[in-house]
């Protein structure tokens, strides 16, 4: 395999542009400027890494996000940084031809290729809910994982389960780490993950030939080390106690904090507040909608999305902890008074010893 620099040269990139590129991606990977020489050296010497990208039960929003990466351009990553050998959604070839190619790449680079998984395997009915090339996806996944150096779990599907695993999970969809247990897995959750986070993770892995530092949940620390709430530009309104009450009120126009209309920013780890989307153009909160917590485990079941507190199942009624609590407290006070009177009656007529 050729090195990145060689690949760049082949594409007619000047040394100057190559250096600019190295500086930019160093920043995007969350590394200090002092790391630039290391990044340049790595790009000059490291061979490009073969990547096999497979698709399970999913909506393909991760791929949609990835191809919009602006820094670096997804095309740069795919054409120069990695050698994307198999991607049944993006590749022109299809059917047996690509399957044969996948097997060949696996054999040629056994132990050296990266497996990127988008979507997840449904286990119900022996995996019949998702068929790839005539076989259940779960087998496709296990087979492809066998010779991989590491696995990237793209998005909330592969990392946590996401919508298809939400209650009642009719297809028994499970995240990748429930099926593959003997390989390092990098979770890159989000529905979808931010494009630049995806390319950032890939670049880190190919440039440094190791997996990025992960937190206790297996997510790269440099991209999932902050809550949206702690980086949100509306935080000043939160601290001041200035909240949007309805999406059509004055406060919404003024751009106040979306906490009371259900924003999950306080409990969600992602880069939306700092890197933002579309090359830093905007993110959901900036466009006036609360975060729904798409990068968190089980976020579909933590609704309603437009309320701060979850519902408590009370028959025939919408209810949350504060309503139930207040009723229970009132009942306790009432009960105490009634019980007190009853005690008085029960004990009346008794003489003291």
């Amino acid at each position: 395999m050729e090195t990145f620099w060689e690949a760049f040269k082949r594409h007619g990139v000047s040394r100057r542009d190559f250096m600019k590129f190295a500086v930019t991606i160093t920043g995007m990977m969350g590394l200090a400027p002092t790391m630039v020489p290391k990044v340049v050296r790595a790009m000059e010497s490291k061979p490009r890494v073969p990547v096999i990208w497979i698709h399970g039960l999913e909506c393909t929003c991760c791929s949609e996000s990835f191809i919009r990466s602006a820094t670096p351009l997804a095309s740069d990553v795919v054409l120069s940084m990695i050698s994307l050998e198999y991607d049944d959604t993006l590749s022109a070839a299809a059917g047996d031809a690509v399957e044969e190619h996948r097997k060949k790449i696996m054999k040629d680079y056994w132990g050296n290729y990266i497996l990127a998984v988008e979507g997840n395997p449904p286990l119900g009915e022996e995996g019949m809910y998702c068929i790839i090339n005539g076989k259940p996806f779960v087998e496709h996944l296990k087979e492809s994982a066998e010779g991989a150096k590491a696995i990237i779990s793209w998005g909330s599907c592969a990392s946590w389960g996401c919508v298809q695993a939400a209650k009642p999970n009719p297809t028994t969809a499970v995240p990748v780490h429930k099926v593959i247990t003997d390989k390092p897995i990098i979770k890159v959750p989000g529905c979808p993950p931010i494009a630049e986070v995806m390319t950032g993770v890939i670049m880190y892995m190919v440039l440094f030939d190791r997996i990025p530092p992960l937190d206790s949940q297996g997510r790269p620390k440099m991209f999932y080390g902050n809550r949206i709430h702690d980086t949100c530009y509306r935080r000043a309104f939160f601290n001041a106690g200035q909240f949007v009450e309805r999406f059509d009120d004055e406060a919404a126009k003024k751009g106040w904090c979306l906490y009371k209309v259900g924003c999950r920013g306080p409990t969600t780890y992602n880069q939306c507040g700092s890197m933002r989307w579309y090359n830093g153009l905007s993110y959901p909160i900036q466009s006036g909608h609360g975060c729904i917590g798409c990068a968190e485990d089980n976020f579909w079941d933590n609704g309603p999305f437009y309320e701060r507190l979850t519902n408590i199942p009370v028959p025939k009624q919408e209810s949350n902890a504060d309503k139930v609590g207040a009723v229970a407290a009132a009942a306790a006070v009432g009960g105490a008074i009634v019980h007190g009177i009853a005690t008085k009656i029960r004990n009346s007529g008794k003489k003291e010893e």
Binding site: R227, G325, A336
Partner: protein, 233 residues
């Protein structure tokens, strides 16, 4: 009529702890409910960046919650230490391995169900039902401390508090469920407090043991020696 005798029950440390605990939980509950649902807005028409110090803000209320949280943590550690040091301060342990525990539990339940009247049954400084309830409340407080400092610390996942309590966030299924658990158990503690206050006053009225004042001066009053007094010796 037999005379009441005075028995020394609660140590000064325990009494001081009790009231600090009470105050911090009241502050934590009031501020916590506001954090969960900021129902009044105190700072309309003021520049967000300048509002701090001008009126009651979310920032200030959270700060008070966290300060009270630190006090609760400190007082909880203090409470555990005095229980370790002095047998007198260990009355919250339900002695489920003893047969008296179960027979007296039955007696107390019958009394509260008004099957028996309050003069029947054996005298106790602390009945098994109360012990069980207090034990559960200590666990609930510990739960609030762990979840509270877990959420508090996760603004820096590699920092000090997260390294101690961060795990709880993941064992409860993520940070959002942790907020909800913290919220639900807050209500449970308040329900306990209501029933607790009622039963203490009831005890005082029906048995004239000086139950209410005992948490101020340390003494309870009985005509005979209560059955579990030997635990204090």
């Amino acid at each position: 009529m037999k005379e009441y005798k005075r028995f020394y029950i609660f140590s000064p440390s325990l009494r001081i702890w009790h009231w600090i605990n009470f105050l911090s939980i009241m502050v934590l509950f009031a501020t916590g409910i506001y954090i969960g649902n900021p129902f009044f807005i105190g700072s309309q028409g003021v520049e967000a960046a300048l509002v701090h110090g001008q009126s009651l803000t979310m920032g200030l209320i959270r700060e008070v919650h966290f300060i009270a949280g630190y006090i609760l943590l400190a007082s909880f550690i203090f409470r555990m230490l005095i229980a370790l040091i002095d047998g007198r301060d260990r009355l919250f342990i339900p002695k489920v391995w003893k047969s008296e525990f179960w027979s007296r539990l039955g007696e107390t339940l019958q009394e509260y169900a008004l099957v028996k009247d309050s003069s029947e049954g054996s005298l106790q400084i602390r009945n098994p039902l109360a012990r069980t309830a207090y034990f559960l409340v200590y666990i609930a407080i510990l739960f609030m401390i762990i979840t509270g400092f877990g959420m508090y610390g996760m603004s820096d996942p590699s920092g000090f508090w997260a390294s101690i309590f961060g795990w709880v966030v993941w064992s409860l299924g993520g940070e959002f469920p942790t907020h909800m658990w913290h919220h639900w158990v807050a209500w449970l503690i308040i329900l306990f407090a209501i029933v607790h206050v009622y039963l203490v006053i009831r005890e005082d009225f029906t048995k004239k043991t000086g139950e209410v004042s005992s948490m101020f001066n340390g003494y309870k009053f009985f005509k005979k020696e209560p059955a579990d007094l030997k635990e204090l010796k």
